[in-house]
Symmetry: C2
Subunit: 415 residues, 2 copies
């Protein structure tokens, strides 16, 4: 359990559009904006919210696979590309597959705690529409132990989570389980339609429940136990925040009403070479959520909203169980009953999550933090939920690989 030795805040935030199929701007046949564009857009937009880029002491980039999607590494070198006032300042890039954004948050947090920075620009980015999805699936397989790739499905990661879904169906009943997954999908789409940067913002489908029922898991086309509607998006995008100390907020000219405080966190790693012992449990998420709550001295009932890592709908349901809102096997019911909807007991993924908003892999952890910052400071626009004053805390859960790298963080409106 890691107590925070000083106060750390999120002072600003921004998401680019989550770009990919579904967005009218997206033309897979035309050249699209590259890595450089997304880094610059997200970085500059966040810097615009503070008084002067010179007050930023350091930059962090979270990214998963620019090395293969864009053949580009040495990503710290793009921090001064955002703003010339960042030239000669410290910069770093961090990686933990789809948990890279969460690791970027942790890295910024530690710099403030270490007192080597009073303000850190923390950015996550991924541009993965540079290749077809089937080739991209091989790249994304690097989030698991690549050496065993040959035993896996062509769509490696969907295959992993399809196996988890299959185990859940077997234990608790497929029809029962898919009612929960369906509601997860519907919530995701409905929330995304309220958020202009979401990949599914323009979705026009009138009956989402019916749409979901039209698709049946079919191993011949995709994977055995999930359909493409259970799957997060292939997305290009970047998100960024500025993390700051108390002194940093003042230097940046940010009022506390526009900031959230980070009050707890956890970072938990599972051996990537091990198969999960129990396919129906996300044990690393379970440990991270508990550790983060403990580190903040909070209980689950203190949480008012959550962004959790639904790379697949089944990861959403299993996440609800792992965080502790439902007993094993009861998560599908909890979701089907509407408790995770935006007007439910615990609104989850209020701008659509990875399935509705999109999943630019290395950016996702930062995107989650931006969303919580927006919700707790009432900047979420049409997607704004009402925060129950008795449950004022937000949480993010970001996962890399199949329950391998997990980062949890807890936030409250700054006071």
């Amino acid at each position: 359990m890691k107590k925070l030795r000083k106060k750390v805040y999120i002072a600003a935030g921004y998401n680019t559009i989550s770009m990919g199929t579904g967005r009218s701007e997206f033309n897979p046949k035309k050249e699209r904006p590259g890595l450089e564009h997304y880094i610059k857009e997200a970085g500059q937009a966040t810097i615009k919210q503070i008084n002067d880029a010179a007050n930023i002491d350091e930059g962090v980039i979270g990214n998963f696979m620019a090395a293969r999607f864009n053949k580009q590494a040495n990503l710290p070198g793009f921090i001064p590309f955002i703003d010339e006032k960042l030239q000669w300042k410290p910069a770093i890039s961090v990686e933990g597959a789809c948990g890279s954004g969460g690791l970027a948050l942790v890295t910024g947090l530690k710099s403030v705690l270490a007192e080597t920075a009073d303000a850190v620009l923390v950015l996550g980015v991924e541009v993965q529409n540079t290749m077809k999805a089937i080739y991209g699936a091989d790249v994304l397989a690097g989030a698991g132990w690549y050496k065993k790739r040959k035993e896996g499905h062509a769509y490696f990661f969907p295959g992993q989570f399809s196996n988890r879904a299959g185990a859940y169906y077997e234990k608790y009943g497929m029809d029962y389980a898919r009612e929960g997954l369906k509601r997860w999908f519907v919530n995701a789409m409905e929330n995304a339609r309220l958020c202009p940067t979401a990949q599914e913002y323009e979705s026009k489908e009138t009956d989402l429940y019916k749409l979901y029922d039209k698709f049946n898991p079919n191993g011949a086309n995709f994977v055995d136990n999930l359909t493409v509607l259970d799957c997060s998006k292939v997305s290009d995008g970047a998100s960024s925040i500025i993390m700051a100390s108390e002194e940093g907020l003042i230097k940046l000219g940010i009022d506390k009403k526009d900031a959230v405080e980070i009050v707890g966190w956890a970072q938990v790693e599972r051996n990537i070479t091990h198969e999960p012992e129990n396919l129906t449990e996300l044990i690393t998420i379970k440990k991270a959520a508990k550790e983060a709550l403990d580190s903040a001295g909070l209980i689950i009932d203190d949480l008012g909203t959550i962004e959790t890592h639904d790379c697949f709908s089944i990861a959403g349901i299993l996440g609800v169980e792992a965080i502790g809102f439902a007993e094993p096997g009861k998560g599908a019911q909890f979701v089907a009953d509407g408790h995770t909807a935006r007007d439910g007991k615990i609104p989850i993924n209020t701008t659509g999550g990875l399935i509705g908003w999109g999943h630019p892999t290395g950016a996702t952890g930062v995107h989650q933090a931006v969303t919580i910052w927006e919700q707790l400071t009432e900047k979420a626009g049409d997607a704004q939920i009402e925060i129950n004053p008795d449950r004022p805390y937000g949480m993010t859960i970001n996962m890399g690989g199949d329950d391998v790298t997990v980062i949890a963080m807890i936030y409250k409106k700054a006071e």
Copy 2:
């Protein structure tokens, strides 16, 4: 300038062999140990030096291009693969091209400063003999701005530093300059022959000066202004250290006589999309060396030994000038005069550096720290130098890309 808010030590260290052409164990036609092997060997060997892996709070991996050389990402997941007692603990991977190892040092340092850890396992690794050098050169080009790759040489990075060498020749004279480069090469080989893990340990050449003279820069075979002898090795390898607070040293059961203290550091980033303004100056290294000295309250004459990033011999000479041992243009003379040899004024790269010891890219920054730790605690075996008590400090300079990502650190024997 970043003052360290508490004492941080290096408590243990280990280098695997730098594996590649030159080593008798290396057979390019047979399957070689993979990424997993090197991570495990280096991690376990360092852990063996402390009382119990359970006392390690966190793990960091520095790596550049496992994504392409090994198709593997989510590297934090290999921390618990080293030792099961690291399961569920925080882990992270960091990247900054060939500066990835130095960024791993910074990350461990910050965790101790942040008081989120009392002991951190910091590891660097690269396994790049998975492809032929010409394909590998395309991978390594990701350390520069890949978008301009098409304008570059087939051997992109050698091309960049060949241009720097060419500019130096033009300004100060080629014959003069190559006398310095020659001595740099000879020092590297002679030092490597004293270190059993060095890639050139088994080198038997009787007249290294003559050997160097046999090669002439020839753009037709390699690059215009450098030969393969001016070039660091293609290497597989891993290095690791354990960083600890004062309390951490006690928990780990490490006596101060076996530890070094980190007394200063700097991390400086140059915009990767900019061409260097002056090809004969490594301005980022210059800034980093000065900042690190300033942060420790030291001057250059306090330094007794240095590990600097000689990815090419010209980077060694320019590094000597950038650190401040010689005026612009005088570095070649300084080196040719033997001042950087192991019995010189300022012994540099005492186990061979990147040209003699080897350059497993993501591991190099950590390897440099291991070497300084060994020298200052008298564990360097046949490569041991005598540390002048009036100049008791060691420094490491690790660079990613063409003077883009630079990390400098200063050490002294713990007291």
